[in-house]
Protein backbone atom coordinates (compact mmCIF):
# COMPACT_ATOMS: atom_id res chain seq x y z
CA UNK A 1 0.00 0.00 0.00
CA UNK A 2 1.37 3.43 -0.93
CA UNK A 3 -0.72 5.26 1.64
CA UNK A 4 -1.29 3.78 5.09
CA UNK A 5 -2.96 6.00 7.67
CA UNK A 6 -3.78 4.72 11.14
CA UNK A 7 -5.86 6.68 13.62
CA UNK A 8 -4.62 10.04 12.32
CA UNK A 9 -5.64 13.16 14.20
CA UNK A 10 -4.77 16.76 13.47
CA UNK A 11 -5.79 19.53 15.84
CA UNK A 12 -5.71 23.29 15.39
CA UNK A 13 -6.11 24.57 18.94
CA UNK A 14 -9.31 23.02 20.20
CA UNK A 15 -10.61 22.11 16.75
CA UNK A 16 -9.99 18.58 15.53
CA UNK A 17 -9.86 19.01 11.74
CA UNK A 18 -9.02 15.32 11.27
CA UNK A 19 -10.32 13.02 13.97
CA UNK A 20 -8.99 9.48 14.02
CA UNK A 21 -8.83 8.70 10.30
CA UNK A 22 -7.62 5.28 9.17
CA UNK A 23 -7.27 4.73 5.44
CA UNK A 24 -5.24 2.73 2.97
CA UNK A 25 -4.68 3.31 -0.73
CA UNK A 26 -2.73 1.47 -3.39
CA UNK A 27 -2.15 2.39 -7.04
CA UNK A 28 -5.18 3.97 -8.70
CA UNK A 29 -7.31 7.03 -8.11
CA UNK A 30 -8.88 7.50 -4.68
CA UNK A 31 -11.51 10.21 -4.49
CA UNK A 32 -11.79 12.10 -1.22
CA UNK A 33 -15.32 13.41 -1.05
CA UNK A 34 -16.98 15.50 1.58
CA UNK A 35 -18.68 18.79 2.35
CA UNK A 36 -16.74 21.97 3.04
CA UNK A 37 -14.94 21.76 6.38
CA UNK A 38 -14.93 17.95 6.41
CA UNK A 39 -11.15 17.81 6.86
CA UNK A 40 -10.16 16.87 3.30
CA UNK A 41 -7.64 19.67 2.84
CA UNK A 42 -6.05 19.07 6.25
CA UNK A 43 -5.73 15.36 5.47
CA UNK A 44 -4.13 16.11 2.09
CA UNK A 45 -1.73 18.64 3.60
CA UNK A 46 -0.72 16.05 6.17
CA UNK A 47 -0.14 13.48 3.43
CA UNK A 48 1.86 16.09 1.50
CA UNK A 49 4.10 16.46 4.62
CA UNK A 50 3.24 20.17 4.71
CA UNK A 51 1.83 19.81 8.23
CA UNK A 52 2.51 17.12 10.83
CA UNK A 53 -0.15 15.00 12.47
CA UNK A 54 -1.06 15.67 16.10
CA UNK A 55 -1.26 11.92 16.67
CA UNK A 56 -1.56 8.69 14.71
CA UNK A 57 0.67 6.95 12.23
CA UNK A 58 1.32 7.54 8.52
CA UNK A 59 3.39 5.56 6.07
CA UNK A 60 3.74 6.88 2.55
CA UNK A 61 5.33 4.83 -0.23
CA UNK A 62 6.51 2.42 2.47
CA UNK A 63 8.36 5.15 4.38
CA UNK A 64 7.88 7.14 7.58
CA UNK A 65 7.41 10.88 6.90
CA UNK A 66 8.39 11.62 10.51
CA UNK A 67 11.99 10.60 9.83
CA UNK A 68 14.12 13.23 8.07
CA UNK A 69 15.78 11.05 5.40
CA UNK A 70 12.64 9.07 4.66
CA UNK A 71 10.57 12.24 4.44
CA UNK A 72 13.00 13.56 1.85
CA UNK A 73 12.67 10.35 -0.17
CA UNK A 74 8.89 10.63 -0.01
CA UNK A 75 8.98 14.25 -1.17
CA UNK A 76 11.11 13.33 -4.18
CA UNK A 77 8.36 10.92 -5.25
CA UNK A 78 5.46 13.16 -4.35
CA UNK A 79 3.31 15.50 -6.38
CA UNK A 80 1.09 17.97 -4.56
CA UNK A 81 -1.43 20.37 -6.05
CA UNK A 82 -2.96 22.56 -3.32
CA UNK A 83 -6.37 24.13 -3.50
CA UNK A 84 -4.98 27.63 -3.90
CA UNK A 85 -1.92 27.97 -6.06
CA UNK A 86 0.54 30.45 -4.67
CA UNK A 87 2.83 31.55 -7.47
CA UNK A 88 5.38 34.12 -8.52
CA UNK A 89 3.62 36.41 -11.02
CA UNK A 90 6.84 37.31 -12.84
CA UNK A 91 7.77 33.69 -13.61
CA UNK A 92 6.88 32.16 -16.97
CA UNK A 93 5.07 28.82 -17.12
CA UNK A 94 8.30 26.99 -17.98
CA UNK A 95 10.32 28.77 -15.27
CA UNK A 96 7.75 27.93 -12.61
CA UNK A 97 7.52 24.25 -13.52
CA UNK A 98 11.31 24.07 -13.86
CA UNK A 99 11.77 25.64 -10.44
CA UNK A 100 9.69 22.92 -8.85
CA UNK A 101 11.39 20.20 -10.88
CA UNK A 102 14.68 21.38 -9.37
CA UNK A 103 13.22 21.67 -5.87
CA UNK A 104 12.07 18.06 -6.28
CA UNK A 105 15.72 17.23 -6.91
CA UNK A 106 15.21 15.81 -10.37
CA UNK A 107 18.51 15.16 -12.18
CA UNK A 108 19.36 18.52 -13.85
CA UNK A 109 20.03 16.81 -17.20
CA UNK A 110 16.44 15.52 -17.34
CA UNK A 111 14.70 18.70 -16.22
CA UNK A 112 14.41 20.59 -19.51
CA UNK A 113 12.85 17.69 -21.39
CA UNK A 114 10.55 16.75 -18.50
CA UNK A 115 9.33 20.34 -18.16
CA UNK A 116 8.67 20.71 -21.89
CA UNK A 117 6.71 17.46 -22.12
CA UNK A 118 4.72 18.22 -18.95
CA UNK A 119 3.77 21.68 -20.16
CA UNK A 120 2.56 20.14 -23.43
CA UNK A 121 0.73 17.41 -21.51
CA UNK A 122 -1.41 19.91 -19.62
CA UNK A 123 -2.15 21.81 -22.83
CA UNK A 124 -0.03 24.87 -22.15
CA UNK A 125 2.51 24.39 -24.94
CA UNK A 126 1.48 27.62 -26.61
CA UNK A 127 1.71 29.50 -23.28
CA UNK A 128 5.09 28.12 -22.22
CA UNK A 129 6.79 31.51 -22.20
CA UNK A 130 3.83 33.49 -20.90
CA UNK A 131 4.18 35.16 -17.50
CA UNK A 132 1.95 33.63 -14.84
CA UNK A 133 0.37 37.01 -14.14
CA UNK A 134 -1.12 36.97 -17.65
CA UNK A 135 -2.86 33.57 -17.33
CA UNK A 136 -6.52 32.90 -16.60
CA UNK A 137 -7.66 30.96 -13.51
CA UNK A 138 -8.12 27.76 -15.53
CA UNK A 139 -4.64 28.05 -17.01
CA UNK A 140 -3.15 28.60 -13.55
CA UNK A 141 -4.84 25.38 -12.41
CA UNK A 142 -3.08 23.63 -15.27
CA UNK A 143 0.24 25.17 -14.21
CA UNK A 144 -0.39 23.85 -10.71
CA UNK A 145 -1.05 20.39 -12.11
CA UNK A 146 2.07 20.61 -14.29
CA UNK A 147 4.36 21.29 -11.31
CA UNK A 148 2.64 18.41 -9.49
CA UNK A 149 3.30 15.82 -12.18
CA UNK A 150 6.63 17.03 -13.61
CA UNK A 151 8.57 14.48 -11.53
CA UNK A 152 6.28 11.56 -12.55
CA UNK A 153 5.22 11.14 -8.92
CA UNK A 154 4.42 7.78 -7.35
CA UNK A 155 2.00 9.56 -5.04
CA UNK A 156 -0.02 12.46 -6.39
CA UNK A 157 -2.23 14.56 -4.10
CA UNK A 158 -4.70 16.97 -5.65
CA UNK A 159 -6.92 19.31 -3.69
CA UNK A 160 -10.02 20.41 -5.61
CA UNK A 161 -8.16 20.24 -8.93
CA UNK A 162 -11.23 20.82 -11.09
CA UNK A 163 -12.34 23.96 -9.29
CA UNK A 164 -12.23 26.83 -11.77
CA UNK A 165 -11.94 24.60 -14.84
CA UNK A 166 -14.56 24.85 -17.55
CA UNK A 167 -16.54 21.66 -18.42
CA UNK A 168 -14.35 20.80 -21.43
CA UNK A 169 -11.17 21.04 -19.36
CA UNK A 170 -12.76 19.07 -16.52
CA UNK A 171 -13.40 16.19 -18.94
CA UNK A 172 -9.79 16.37 -20.19
CA UNK A 173 -8.52 16.50 -16.64
CA UNK A 174 -10.47 13.42 -15.60
CA UNK A 175 -8.89 11.54 -18.51
CA UNK A 176 -5.47 12.70 -17.29
CA UNK A 177 -6.35 11.51 -13.77
CA UNK A 178 -7.26 8.04 -15.05
CA UNK A 179 -4.00 7.89 -16.99
CA UNK A 180 -1.94 8.95 -13.96
CA UNK A 181 -3.78 6.45 -11.79
CA UNK A 182 -2.51 3.57 -13.91
CA UNK A 183 1.04 4.15 -12.67
CA UNK A 184 0.69 6.01 -9.38
CA UNK A 185 -1.47 6.40 -6.31
CA UNK A 186 -3.59 9.47 -6.86
CA UNK A 187 -5.61 10.97 -4.02
CA UNK A 188 -7.97 13.64 -5.27
CA UNK A 189 -10.06 15.75 -2.95
CA UNK A 190 -13.24 17.15 -4.40
CA UNK A 191 -16.76 18.10 -3.53
CA UNK A 192 -17.95 17.32 -7.07
CA UNK A 193 -19.35 13.81 -7.13
CA UNK A 194 -19.14 13.70 -10.95
CA UNK A 195 -15.34 13.86 -10.66
CA UNK A 196 -15.43 10.76 -8.50
CA UNK A 197 -17.88 8.89 -10.72
CA UNK A 198 -15.80 9.28 -13.84
CA UNK A 199 -12.23 9.13 -12.59
CA UNK A 200 -11.97 7.28 -9.29
CA UNK A 201 -11.72 3.55 -8.65
CA UNK A 202 -12.35 4.04 -4.94
CA UNK A 203 -13.89 6.76 -2.85
CA UNK A 204 -13.59 7.86 0.78
CA UNK A 205 -16.28 10.14 2.13
CA UNK A 206 -15.29 12.46 4.99
CA UNK A 207 -17.51 14.34 7.36
CA UNK A 208 -16.51 16.33 10.44
CA UNK A 209 -12.96 15.02 10.37
CA UNK A 210 -13.86 11.34 10.04
CA UNK A 211 -14.04 8.88 7.16
CA UNK A 212 -17.67 7.77 7.14
CA UNK A 213 -17.48 5.66 3.98
CA UNK A 214 -14.73 3.90 2.06
CA UNK A 215 -15.50 1.78 -0.98
CA UNK A 216 -16.14 1.90 -4.71
CA UNK A 217 -18.34 4.51 -6.38
CA UNK A 218 -20.85 1.73 -7.13
CA UNK A 219 -20.99 0.82 -3.44
CA UNK A 220 -21.54 4.48 -2.56
CA UNK A 221 -24.40 4.69 -5.06
CA UNK A 222 -25.93 1.52 -3.58
CA UNK A 223 -26.11 3.13 -0.14
CA UNK A 224 -28.99 5.28 -1.41
CA UNK A 225 -31.22 2.30 -2.15
CA UNK A 226 -34.30 2.25 0.01
CA UNK A 227 -33.76 5.80 1.25
CA UNK A 228 -35.18 9.17 0.29
CA UNK A 229 -31.75 10.71 -0.07
CA UNK A 230 -31.60 13.88 -2.15
CA UNK A 231 -29.61 14.10 -5.36
CA UNK A 232 -29.81 14.18 -9.15
CA UNK A 233 -27.62 11.14 -9.75
CA UNK A 234 -27.10 7.80 -7.97
CA UNK A 235 -23.72 8.89 -6.59
CA UNK A 236 -25.17 12.11 -5.24
CA UNK A 237 -27.96 10.20 -3.56
CA UNK A 238 -25.46 7.74 -2.08
CA UNK A 239 -23.37 10.69 -0.84
CA UNK A 240 -26.41 12.29 0.78
CA UNK A 241 -27.55 8.99 2.32
CA UNK A 242 -24.16 8.28 3.92
CA UNK A 243 -23.89 11.83 5.27
CA UNK A 244 -27.42 11.68 6.69
CA UNK A 245 -26.70 8.32 8.30
CA UNK A 246 -23.42 9.51 9.85
CA UNK A 247 -25.09 12.58 11.30
CA UNK A 248 -28.11 10.80 12.71
Amino acid sequence: MNVEITDLTRRFGRVRAVAGVSLQAGPGVLGLLGPNGAGKTTLLRTLATVISPSSGRIRLLGRDPGAHRQRREIRRRLGYVPQNLGYYPGFTVVEFVEYFALLKEMPPATVSRAVASTVERVGLGDKATAKLRTLSGGMLRRVAIAQGIVNEPELLLLDEPTAGLDPELRVEFRALLRELGQRATVVVSTHLVEDVGSACARVALMDRGRVVFHGTPAELSARAEGTNAAGDAPLERGYSAVLAESRS
Binding site: H68, G90, F100, L103, D126
Partner: protein, 267 residues
Protein backbone atom coordinates in the same frame (compact mmCIF):
# COMPACT_ATOMS: atom_id res chain seq x y z
CA UNK B 1 -5.00 34.60 -38.25
CA UNK B 2 -7.33 34.46 -35.28
CA UNK B 3 -9.35 31.39 -36.32
CA UNK B 4 -8.10 27.89 -37.04
CA UNK B 5 -7.42 27.14 -40.74
CA UNK B 6 -9.75 24.57 -42.29
CA UNK B 7 -8.57 21.03 -43.01
CA UNK B 8 -8.67 21.83 -46.74
CA UNK B 9 -6.35 24.82 -46.24
CA UNK B 10 -4.00 22.75 -44.10
CA UNK B 11 -3.98 19.98 -46.72
CA UNK B 12 -3.09 22.48 -49.47
CA UNK B 13 -0.40 23.98 -47.23
CA UNK B 14 1.00 20.48 -46.64
CA UNK B 15 1.14 19.94 -50.41
CA UNK B 16 3.31 23.01 -50.88
CA UNK B 17 0.60 25.64 -51.01
CA UNK B 18 -1.07 25.20 -54.45
CA UNK B 19 -4.07 27.53 -54.59
CA UNK B 20 -2.89 29.55 -51.58
CA UNK B 21 -1.51 33.04 -52.06
CA UNK B 22 1.51 34.27 -50.09
CA UNK B 23 -0.64 36.06 -47.50
CA UNK B 24 -2.64 32.88 -46.80
CA UNK B 25 0.53 30.78 -46.48
CA UNK B 26 2.01 33.37 -44.14
CA UNK B 27 -1.17 33.41 -42.04
CA UNK B 28 -1.15 29.63 -41.72
CA UNK B 29 2.50 29.65 -40.66
CA UNK B 30 1.93 32.32 -38.03
CA UNK B 31 -1.03 30.39 -36.68
CA UNK B 32 0.89 27.10 -36.62
CA UNK B 33 3.62 28.66 -34.49
CA UNK B 34 1.18 29.13 -31.64
CA UNK B 35 -1.40 26.35 -32.11
CA UNK B 36 -0.40 22.81 -31.10
CA UNK B 37 -3.76 21.41 -32.25
CA UNK B 38 -3.32 22.69 -35.80
CA UNK B 39 0.26 21.42 -35.89
CA UNK B 40 -1.13 17.99 -35.03
CA UNK B 41 -3.81 18.34 -37.73
CA UNK B 42 -1.15 19.39 -40.22
CA UNK B 43 0.89 16.29 -39.37
CA UNK B 44 -2.19 14.22 -40.21
CA UNK B 45 -2.68 16.09 -43.52
CA UNK B 46 0.70 15.25 -45.00
CA UNK B 47 0.66 13.16 -48.17
CA UNK B 48 2.54 9.88 -48.71
CA UNK B 49 5.61 11.38 -50.47
CA UNK B 50 5.90 14.17 -47.90
CA UNK B 51 5.62 11.68 -45.05
CA UNK B 52 8.29 9.49 -46.64
CA UNK B 53 10.58 12.51 -46.99
CA UNK B 54 10.03 13.47 -43.35
CA UNK B 55 10.76 9.93 -42.24
CA UNK B 56 14.00 9.90 -44.24
CA UNK B 57 15.04 13.21 -42.68
CA UNK B 58 14.13 11.96 -39.17
CA UNK B 59 16.09 8.74 -39.70
CA UNK B 60 19.09 10.75 -40.93
CA UNK B 61 18.89 13.04 -37.90
CA UNK B 62 18.68 10.07 -35.54
CA UNK B 63 21.78 8.53 -37.14
CA UNK B 64 23.64 11.85 -36.88
CA UNK B 65 22.68 12.32 -33.22
CA UNK B 66 23.67 8.74 -32.37
CA UNK B 67 27.07 9.17 -34.05
CA UNK B 68 27.76 12.57 -32.47
CA UNK B 69 28.97 13.42 -28.97
CA UNK B 70 26.46 12.99 -26.10
CA UNK B 71 24.46 16.11 -25.34
CA UNK B 72 25.82 18.27 -22.56
CA UNK B 73 23.38 18.79 -19.68
CA UNK B 74 22.02 22.30 -19.77
CA UNK B 75 22.96 24.12 -16.58
CA UNK B 76 20.30 26.65 -15.81
CA UNK B 77 21.06 29.63 -13.60
CA UNK B 78 18.52 28.33 -11.13
CA UNK B 79 19.97 30.01 -8.11
CA UNK B 80 19.37 33.34 -9.82
CA UNK B 81 15.94 32.15 -10.90
CA UNK B 82 14.77 31.08 -7.48
CA UNK B 83 16.09 34.14 -5.74
CA UNK B 84 14.35 36.57 -8.03
CA UNK B 85 11.18 36.67 -5.94
CA UNK B 86 13.23 36.70 -2.74
CA UNK B 87 14.94 39.93 -3.73
CA UNK B 88 11.60 41.73 -3.91
CA UNK B 89 10.31 40.19 -0.69
CA UNK B 90 13.45 41.20 1.20
CA UNK B 91 13.96 44.61 -0.34
CA UNK B 92 11.90 46.61 2.22
CA UNK B 93 13.54 44.83 5.17
CA UNK B 94 17.05 45.21 3.84
CA UNK B 95 16.37 48.86 3.07
CA UNK B 96 15.16 49.33 6.64
CA UNK B 97 18.30 47.60 7.96
CA UNK B 98 20.50 49.91 5.87
CA UNK B 99 18.52 52.92 7.11
CA UNK B 100 18.87 51.94 10.78
CA UNK B 101 22.61 51.35 10.42
CA UNK B 102 22.96 54.69 8.66
CA UNK B 103 21.13 56.46 11.49
CA UNK B 104 23.27 54.64 14.07
CA UNK B 105 26.40 55.77 12.25
CA UNK B 106 25.13 59.35 12.19
CA UNK B 107 24.30 59.27 15.92
CA UNK B 108 27.74 57.80 16.66
CA UNK B 109 29.33 60.81 15.02
CA UNK B 110 27.03 63.29 16.78
CA UNK B 111 26.87 61.76 20.24
CA UNK B 112 30.31 60.60 21.33
CA UNK B 113 29.41 60.14 25.00
CA UNK B 114 27.34 57.01 24.26
CA UNK B 115 28.81 53.64 23.27
CA UNK B 116 28.79 52.96 19.52
CA UNK B 117 25.22 52.31 18.38
CA UNK B 118 26.58 50.57 15.29
CA UNK B 119 28.32 48.02 17.51
CA UNK B 120 25.23 47.64 19.69
CA UNK B 121 22.85 47.10 16.75
CA UNK B 122 25.10 45.16 14.37
CA UNK B 123 24.46 41.73 15.97
CA UNK B 124 20.71 41.91 15.33
CA UNK B 125 20.91 43.59 11.91
CA UNK B 126 20.52 40.36 9.87
CA UNK B 127 17.62 39.00 11.95
CA UNK B 128 14.64 40.75 10.25
CA UNK B 129 15.85 39.58 6.84
CA UNK B 130 16.42 36.01 8.01
CA UNK B 131 12.96 35.88 9.59
CA UNK B 132 11.32 37.18 6.41
CA UNK B 133 13.29 34.86 4.13
CA UNK B 134 11.88 31.86 6.00
CA UNK B 135 8.33 33.05 6.35
CA UNK B 136 5.22 31.79 4.61
CA UNK B 137 3.94 35.34 4.46
CA UNK B 138 6.80 36.40 2.23
CA UNK B 139 6.69 33.39 -0.10
CA UNK B 140 3.48 33.03 -2.09
CA UNK B 141 4.34 29.45 -3.07
CA UNK B 142 5.20 28.32 0.46
CA UNK B 143 2.69 25.47 0.47
CA UNK B 144 4.07 24.00 -2.74
CA UNK B 145 7.65 24.48 -1.58
CA UNK B 146 6.91 22.90 1.80
CA UNK B 147 6.15 19.59 0.09
CA UNK B 148 9.46 19.42 -1.78
CA UNK B 149 12.64 17.66 -0.62
CA UNK B 150 14.67 20.87 -0.98
CA UNK B 151 12.78 22.38 1.95
CA UNK B 152 14.73 22.25 5.19
CA UNK B 153 17.94 23.46 6.74
CA UNK B 154 19.75 23.69 3.39
CA UNK B 155 17.13 26.03 1.96
CA UNK B 156 17.10 28.08 5.17
CA UNK B 157 20.90 28.42 5.02
CA UNK B 158 20.76 29.36 1.33
CA UNK B 159 18.23 32.09 2.02
CA UNK B 160 20.17 33.25 5.08
CA UNK B 161 23.27 33.51 2.90
CA UNK B 162 21.32 35.72 0.50
CA UNK B 163 20.45 38.02 3.41
CA UNK B 164 24.01 38.03 4.76
CA UNK B 165 25.29 38.79 1.27
CA UNK B 166 23.64 42.19 1.61
CA UNK B 167 23.88 42.82 5.36
CA UNK B 168 27.55 41.87 5.87
CA UNK B 169 28.87 44.52 3.41
CA UNK B 170 26.56 47.08 5.04
CA UNK B 171 27.92 46.15 8.47
CA UNK B 172 31.49 46.29 7.20
CA UNK B 173 30.89 49.77 5.82
CA UNK B 174 29.20 50.98 8.99
CA UNK B 175 31.89 49.34 11.14
CA UNK B 176 34.63 51.04 9.16
CA UNK B 177 32.91 54.34 9.88
CA UNK B 178 33.19 53.72 13.65
CA UNK B 179 36.78 52.56 13.54
CA UNK B 180 35.88 49.36 15.42
CA UNK B 181 37.43 45.99 14.66
CA UNK B 182 35.72 44.29 11.70
CA UNK B 183 35.61 41.02 13.66
CA UNK B 184 33.81 42.73 16.53
CA UNK B 185 31.18 44.05 14.12
CA UNK B 186 30.63 40.86 12.13
CA UNK B 187 31.15 37.97 14.56
CA UNK B 188 28.32 38.88 16.98
CA UNK B 189 26.03 39.29 13.95
CA UNK B 190 26.95 35.81 12.72
CA UNK B 191 26.46 34.42 16.24
CA UNK B 192 22.99 35.94 16.60
CA UNK B 193 22.07 34.65 13.11
CA UNK B 194 23.30 31.17 14.03
CA UNK B 195 21.37 31.36 17.32
CA UNK B 196 18.21 32.28 15.41
CA UNK B 197 18.64 29.32 13.08
CA UNK B 198 19.47 26.89 15.89
CA UNK B 199 16.51 28.05 18.01
CA UNK B 200 14.32 28.20 14.89
CA UNK B 201 14.33 24.42 14.66
CA UNK B 202 12.34 24.36 17.90
CA UNK B 203 10.24 27.52 17.85
CA UNK B 204 10.16 28.60 14.20
CA UNK B 205 12.59 31.06 12.69
CA UNK B 206 10.41 34.14 13.08
CA UNK B 207 9.82 33.55 16.79
CA UNK B 208 13.50 32.73 17.26
CA UNK B 209 14.52 36.00 15.59
CA UNK B 210 12.17 37.96 17.83
CA UNK B 211 13.44 36.15 20.94
CA UNK B 212 17.13 36.64 20.09
CA UNK B 213 16.50 40.30 19.24
CA UNK B 214 14.60 40.86 22.49
CA UNK B 215 17.24 39.17 24.62
CA UNK B 216 20.00 41.20 22.93
CA UNK B 217 18.09 44.43 23.42
CA UNK B 218 17.31 43.69 27.06
CA UNK B 219 20.66 42.25 28.07
CA UNK B 220 23.10 44.35 26.05
CA UNK B 221 21.68 47.38 24.23
CA UNK B 222 19.62 48.97 26.99
CA UNK B 223 22.20 48.46 29.81
CA UNK B 224 24.92 49.77 27.46
CA UNK B 225 22.98 52.96 26.76
CA UNK B 226 21.95 53.34 30.41
CA UNK B 227 25.54 52.98 31.64
CA UNK B 228 26.95 54.99 28.70
CA UNK B 229 29.57 52.27 28.41
CA UNK B 230 30.33 49.58 25.83
CA UNK B 231 29.22 46.23 27.33
CA UNK B 232 31.88 43.65 28.12
CA UNK B 233 30.58 41.30 25.40
CA UNK B 234 31.43 43.89 22.74
CA UNK B 235 34.97 44.60 23.85
CA UNK B 236 37.90 43.25 21.82
CA UNK B 237 38.71 40.45 24.31
CA UNK B 238 35.37 38.79 23.55
CA UNK B 239 36.16 37.94 19.91
CA UNK B 240 37.32 34.34 20.55
CA UNK B 241 34.17 33.65 22.56
CA UNK B 242 31.96 34.91 19.72
CA UNK B 243 33.80 32.66 17.28
CA UNK B 244 33.35 29.66 19.58
CA UNK B 245 29.68 30.44 20.12
CA UNK B 246 29.07 30.72 16.37
CA UNK B 247 30.74 27.36 15.73
CA UNK B 248 28.76 25.71 18.54
CA UNK B 249 25.43 27.08 17.31
CA UNK B 250 26.12 26.01 13.73
CA UNK B 251 26.91 22.52 15.06
CA UNK B 252 23.63 22.48 17.03
CA UNK B 253 21.64 23.46 13.92
CA UNK B 254 23.43 20.79 11.85
CA UNK B 255 22.72 18.13 14.46
CA UNK B 256 19.01 18.96 14.41
CA UNK B 257 18.64 19.03 10.64
CA UNK B 258 15.40 17.02 10.84
CA UNK B 259 13.66 19.79 12.78
CA UNK B 260 13.48 22.11 9.77
CA UNK B 261 10.56 20.30 8.22
CA UNK B 262 8.89 22.97 6.21
CA UNK B 263 8.82 26.58 5.24
CA UNK B 264 6.61 28.25 7.78
CA UNK B 265 6.57 30.75 10.55
CA UNK B 266 6.49 28.04 13.17
CA UNK B 267 8.97 25.42 12.09
Amino acid sequence: MTTHPTLAVLARYADGGPGLDDAAVWSVEVHLETCADCRARLAGSTTGPTRALLERVAAGLDRGIAAGPPPQPVRRPWSALHRRWLVWALLPWLTMTAGVLGCALLLDSLQTALPSLVLLLAPVAPLPGVAVAWSRRADPAWELIAGTPATGLTMLLRRTAAVLGVVVPLLALAGAGTGASLALVLLPALTCTAATIALGGLTGVRRAAIAVGAVWAGAVVLPGIADAELPVVLRPGSIPLWALATAALVAVAGARVGDYRRLSSYN
